[in-house]
Structures are given as structure tokens and as C-alpha cells.
């Protein structure tokens, strides 16, 4: 079933300047989609446009067959959640209070928070302030809040950048679990191509505001496309464990021939 349908989308931070041009794709229920692309390609812009944070200049986005501009605020928040960084002012909040706010769109109807605490191993940090957490813990809390919002579609903007590999894997494992068992549809942007290919069902490669390629990791991570978009030399191998493509960047000093 098609959950999200983006058709001929033009959008940007301003009504006059289009950062995204001619974007069209579809997302099925329970898919894990990765958005990859170089810096300033429009990854965040795409996520924010889907989250209704930026104006749509042309084209439209349909969620569940209905134009996203026609949803009411709370109704939209019940369907789509967006995970971002917090203001430093709000870091004086307790973890528990912060997580509780996820139920605002549902008018604070009961929710099984204990299960959430268990899944994300939050028991020990519940009564801490957000500012007392390490960046790995903070990221875990922010992501678990997005899950507690119980949306149909969750958007993540580089959820694991600037974390160590242990935290990266544990957070993405959790997301994958929710994706597989609870049929949560996820769209997430990535800097780390190898992680994106391990976890995502399909990848969208964006370059200069336009879609370069959509498809399974095997289709998208072709060395010709990657070299062209990222303007660097790479070698693509296969990960022996998952059989997914694995990218090794090649420093210029090795390019002899």
C-alpha cells in the first residue's frame, strides 16, 4: 500500500528559491527509506517539506491519499513524526517529562511508556536532566520520543551522525526493530553510506536538489553514480555478512595510474 506519494515537488526555504526540483517518489507502508547525498543536496529540505515545515512551491505530497496541506495540526502529528535536535534552552527538562510530551497530539491518552523505557534502555536516565546526558544518550531519548508519538511515518534527519559505531548500531537496530515488528514506515537521511545500505530497503540519492537514483542499495550504490555525485573515487565491494554493497573511499594519493 502506498503511504506517501510525492509528485513533481518543488520546494525550498523561500517561496522564490526552489532547493528541491522535480522530486517524485512513492513510499510503501513499513518501508525503511534512506536519503543519501552530498552536503547541501537537499536531504533535510526534503524531510522538512514532508513534515510541513517548509512551503510547497509546486507539485504536491499525498499522505494516505490526502494532500498534506489539508491535514489539521494535531491530526498530522498523529500520522507523521519528525525527529530533530532540541534548543539548548529546553535541555533543562527532565527526560521523563520530555518523553511524556510525545503524547500531546493524542491528548495524553494512556501509552505504555514502560515498554518504551525497556526497548531503549532508558530506565537509568529517566530522572536526569536532558543536559546531563551524553550525546549518545540524548540522541536515544530524542528518537524514543519520536517513537512514543506512535506515528505511521517517522522522519529522521541524520539520526546517527557524530555518534560512535556502538551507538550508531544500537540506535539503528532499534529503529529497524520498530520498522519490522510494528510496521513503522521510516524515512531517514544518512551521511554514512554503508550504514544506509545495511539498514534501508531502498535508497534515494539526491544531488543538487534533484533525484539522481532511487532503488535498492545494490542499484543505487554503483561506483559510477557515487563517484559522479560525490566527486571522489570509490571502490564498491560486497559485505560478506549481509551481501549488501560496501563502499570504500579512495584517497587521492593512491590514484597513481
Amino acid at each position: 500500500m502506498v503511504l506517501l506519494k510525492v509528485e513533481d515537488l518543488y520546494s525550498g526555504y523561500d517561496k522564490k528559491v526552489n532547493i528541491l526540483k522535480n522530486i517524485s517518489f512513492e513510499v510503501e507502508t513499513a518501508e525503511f527509506i534512506g536519503i543519501i547525498g552530498p552536503n547541501a543536496a537537499g536531504k533535510s529540505t526534503l524531510l522538512k517539506t514532508i513534515a510541513r515545515l517548509l512551503p510547497i512551491n509546486k507539485g504536491h505530497i499525498l499522505f494516505d491519499g490526502k494532500d498534506i496541506r489539508k491535514y489539521k495540526y494535531k491530526e498530522y502529528a498523529r500520522n507523521i513524526a519528525f525527529s530533530t535536535n532540541l534548543t539548548s534552552y529546553s535541555l533543562n527538562m527532565k527526560v521523563k517529562d520530555f518523553l511524556f510530551l510525545a503524547r500531546y497530539p493524542w491528548d495524553f491518552t494512556p501509552y505504555d511508556f514502560d515498554k518504551l523505557y525497556e526497548e531503549f534502555e532508558l530506565k537509568n536516565i529517566l530522572n536526569k536532566m536532558l543536559k546531563e546526558l551524553s550525546s549518545g544518550e540524548l540522541q536515544r531519548v530524542i528518537i524514543s520520543q519520536t517513537i512514543a508519538q506512535t506515528p505511521k511515518l517517522a522522519l529522521f534527519d541524520e539520526p546517527v551522525s557524530h555518534l560512535d559505531i556502538g551507538h550508531q548500531i544500537s540506535i539503528l537496530d532499534n529503529l529497524k526493530k520498530f520498522n519490522q515488528y510494528y510496521k513503522l514506515t521510516i524515512i531517514s537521511s544518512f551521511h554514512e553510506l554503508n550504514l544506509a545500505c545495511e539498514y534501508c530497503d531502498r535508497l534515494i540519492l539526491i544531488s543538487c536538489g534533484e533525484i539522481k537514483k532511487i532503488g535498492t542499495p545494490q542499484e543505487v550504490l554503483d561506483y559510477k553514480i557515487i563517484e559522479e555525485v560525490y566527486n571522489t573515487t570509490v571502490v564498491v565491494k560486497t559485505n560478506p555478512i549481509s551481501n549488501k554493497p560496501y563502499i570504500i573511499p579512495v584517497p587521492t594519493m593512491w590514484k597513481k595510474e
Binding site: 510541513r52 534552552y89 533543562n92 508519538q149
Partner: protein, 326 residues
């Protein structure tokens, strides 16, 4: 533990202070007798027509100023915001001074309200003109505005009849003495209603401080809530100025001290700040009346001195976490 101590101490101060501000230098026996005999003695009149309105006014102005501080701090995400530092109070003061000089047939509330309104609208259009939004530089521009309006007030009072403007100047320094019972009661009812309105937005404020993006994607109409709350804050500020002149600093001290006890849960924070602010202002008013009796010290002086000492102790103790760097 700190919560318990804090609550007990504030309650004790609240009761003592309340009794003091109502019954100070009055003979309790005479009042009781006059209540029982239904006679209108001088003491009885003082109690009902001066003391009670003044006590209500001090408490509500304190509550209003403190909670306006809380709201503005959370909206602009800056622990130094309040009605005074953002220039709202001085704009209201300017409104009153102008209407006094021009002898406009407006009472104090409307003139202060128009002062603020004119100031806000002109700032809004100036920002539009220069294509700037009110965000980062807001506190700085507020400080500038504050100086600007205060200077204009002083220029105006220098150029016009000093007899006419003298009492306005004294009142601007903060004083509850020039009180007219009916208008006070009306203003106080309005403040009370607006305070209730602010508390009803507490949950939305919890979400709004997370940032614009998070607020919208959690289903809060962020812009609308912010504008409504700013409007309410401006009205409360204008009312407070019209009752007691510009009282500075309360809106910074009280919210920050209270925040270190309640944490950033807005409902608790708002309510506790209101309570603490009302006690603080009432206490300052009592001191202002008694320290140099029978002369009254401008209340602004007292809040300044008491507040800064208290605040510095607080910062040094390390309980202060208003200014955060993550």
C-alpha cells in the same frame, strides 16, 4: 527536600506578610469592635479602602510581572527576558507621560496600553522595513528600546511643566501609593483572568521551547500560541505599569530562582512563580513603606537592591541554571 523547605518558608512569609500589609499600625481591637458593631471607624475605613486594595494590587502585580517574565523567557528562549528588559514597561510609561502632558482624557491603563501598542506596532513595521525577524537580536533591541523610551520620558518631563510631570516621574519609579480603588479592582480582575489564560497554555509552552520544528511536528500551532501569549503579556505589563509604575528585575529573578526548584515544567513553574512574585513585591512594598517611615521609598529601588543581592548569592551557590550551554 529543597521543594519542601522552599514551600514552608514561602508560606510562612506569605502569611506574615499578608497580616502585616493589612494590619500594619492599625489597632486590631478597634477594627473588630467596628466590625461587630457595624460602625465605620477610621481604622475600618483604612482597612477596607486602602489596605485591602493595595494588598490585592501588590500581590497581583507581583504575580503578573513574574509570570510575564516566565512566558517571555520561554518564548524567546532567553533567561534574561522580561517586560522591562524588552522595553515593554518603558513604552507603557512613555504612554502615560505623553497622555499626561497632552492632557488626554484617558485613564492610566489605556494610556499605558496605547503606549505599548504604538511602540509594538512601530517596531513591527521597522523590522518589516529592514526585513529582519524578531529572534536572536530581540533582547538586545529590547535593551536599546528601554534606554530610548526612558530617555524620551526624561526629555519630555524636562521640557514640560515640572509640576504636572513630577508625580508621574515618582510613580514611574514604582509606587503603590497612588491608588484609586475601583480602577485597581478592575485592573486586578483583568490581570487575574489573563493569568488563568496563561496557565492554560502551559502544556503548549512545554512543547514550544523544544524548538519551532519540534513544536509544529507535535501538532502545536506555534506561531498562533506565541502571538496570543505575547499579546497577553503586553496587556499584563501595561496593567502592572498603570497600577504601580515600572518595576524592574522581578521578571528575571523570580522565574529563574523558581525554575531551579521546579524545573522546566511550565504549569508548576508558572504557578510557583506567580506565588513567589506576589510575595516578593508585597514584601518590597511593605519595606518601602516602613524603612523610612513616614516617607515611602520607590519600590524599584528595593526590588533592585534585594533582588541583586539574592540573585548574586544564588549564582555563586551554583543553583542557577538559567543560562545553559549544552
Amino acid at each position: 527536600m529543597t521543594k519542601k523547605i522552599f514551600t514552608t518558608i514561602t508560606f510562612v512569609i506569605f502569611i506574615l506578610n499578608l497580616l502585616h500589609s493589612l494590619l500594619f499600625r492599625l489597632d486590631l481591637n478597634k477594627i473588630l469592635i467596628s466590625v461587630i458593631n457595624k460602625q465605620e471607624t477610621v481604622e475600618y475605613k483604612i482597612l477596607t479602602q486602602i489596605r485591602i486594595p493595595r494588598t490585592i494590587a501588590t500581590h497581583l502585580v507581583g504575580a503578573g510581572l513574574a509570570v510575564v517574565g516566565c512566558v517571555l523567557q520561554s518564548i524567546f528562549l532567553n533567561p534574561l527576558c522580561e517586560g522591562y528588559t524588552l522595553g515593554i514597561s518603558s513604552a507603557a510609561g512613555l504612554g502615560v507621560v505623553v497622555s499626561t502632558i497632552l492632557m488626554l482624557p484617558l485613564n492610566r491603563f489605556f494610556s499605558s496600553f496605547f503606549g505599548v501598542l504604538v511602540a509594538m506596532i512601530s517596531i513591527h513595521f521597522l523590522l518589516r522595513l529592514f526585513r529582519r525577524t524578531i529572534d536572536v537580536s530581540f533582547i538586545l533591541s529590547g535593551v536599546v528600546l528601554n534606554f530610548f523610551f526612558s530617555s524620551i520620558i526624561i526629555i519630555l518631563t524636562l521640557f514640560f511643566d515640572p509640576y504636572k510631570t513630577h508625580y508621574v516621574l515618582l510613580w514611574l519609579l514604582g509606587s503603590f501609593s497612588s491608588i484609586d480603588t475601583t480602577s485597581i479592582l478592575i485592573s486586578c480582575t483583568v490581570i487575574l483572568i489573563l493569568l488563568v489564560a496563561i496557565v492554560s497554555y502551559a502544556k503548549q509552552m512545554d512543547i514550544i521551547i523544544l524548538g519551532k520544528e519540534k513544536a509544529i511536528t507535535l501538532g502545536v500551532k506555534e506561531q498562533k500560541v506565541k502571538s496570543v501569549l505575547i499579546f497577553i503579556c503586553v496587556v499584563i505589563c501595561a496593567l502592572c505599569v498603570s497600577i504601580s509604575g515600572t518595576i524592574s528585575f522581578v521578571g528575571v529573578i523570580v522565574p529563574n530562582v523558581v525554575k531551579s526548584i521546579t524545573g522546566l515544567k511550565h504549569k508548576e513553574w508558572f504557578l510557583t512563580s506567580m506565588f513567589t512574585g506576589s510575595i516578593f513585591i508585597s514584601l518590597c512594598d511593605n519595606l518601602a513603606r516602613n524603612l523610612m517611615y513616614p516617607m515611602e521609598i520607590p519600590i524599584n529601588v528595593l526590588t533592585g537592591i534585594l533582588g541583586s543581592i539574592f540573585f548574586i548569592v544564588y549564582i555563586l551557590k551554583g543553583n542557577f541554571y538559567g543560562v545553559v550551554k549544552s
